[in-house]
Symmetry: D2
Subunit: 101 residues, 4 copies
């Protein structure tokens, strides 16, 4: 089961700046070899369900390992069985409609 | 790693009423033996990370198995290493503050 | 336009315990007169769109006013035009299916 | 109050393909004049709170106007009072850490 997620990991109890924790999550995601793209409020990741969810867990472990006592994460997860669809397809189909519409 | 999640599974391509799909997810959650509580916009579930995430996957599989071609899920996930905290503790600590404040 | 939301306000830069901020949000919500129900990972609120969204804004203002320098909020928002549906209806229709199914 | 949001509008009861509805939301966002960027699972938008939230409402109105009987939206919203921060700053500060780290 292929899944596209949008992951936003927020450490609590570490002060107001969270960018160093987000950067470490990016390293965890990069190391997974999965396709991903960061935006201003999270990171899109796609791949087989178990691989993607292992990355989410590894991000929590890494951020706790850095000393964050608490984490709250928001995740969107999309699966479909009617056809194969990738992150790039989703953006492209909207952009095509905008260009042609 | 104990996790408290808030799970909201939304099937697409099945018409406007989704309650039968939500009900099947409740059965999946119930069968897991994990502690959970449904509200009007999702279900809180808590337990060991892998067990809880297995339930999320099983919900996707069940809803696709019912014929839904596409699912979009929103998930909040909280973990903490500073202390043990359960769903009931979270609600109780706010209610105590409201009563005493 | 009637809306049902699920609101989760998370203050950053205030330490690991956020329950006093959540309690103040509950007071803001209570003062609005809108129908609401707190759960372990947020609060369901329903009512006219502008009134509900004014409460979300007031929560941010209150939490910043308490000294939180940063807030990240997760919101789910549901509207429908096919029929009138309340928070209690959503839970009831799933519970009916579970009982009769 | 400046806010950065991540908006994901999902129409229900319109079949499995939702890209035409997402494209119309992009037109609503574009017409607002606010700074925004689409990704594979939503759109980042930033600006004054009331302007940004007016766009979210306008998206619901547009999508219902296109015939969607039901919408479920997921929104992340970030505000801060300690300093001025834009969408581009958030991405840049993580990228700087990744490059230098």
């Amino acid at each position: 089961m292929h899944v596209i997620i949008d992951l936003c990991v927020v450490p609590l109890g570490v002060g107001v700046s969270v960018s160093s924790y987000v950067a470490q999550c990016q390293r965890v995601i990069e190391a997974s070899g999965l396709n991903y793209r960061m935006h201003a409020y999270g990171t899109n990741i796609e791949g087989p369900w178990d691989d993607v969810m292992a990355v989410v867990k590894a991000c929590h472990e890494r951020v706790h390992g850095m000393g964050a006592p608490r984490i709250t994460t928001t995740l969107k997860m999309g699966t479909r069985t009617d056809r194969d669809q990738r992150m790039d397809d989703k953006v492209a189909s909207v952009e095509t409609l905008l260009r042609d519409g």
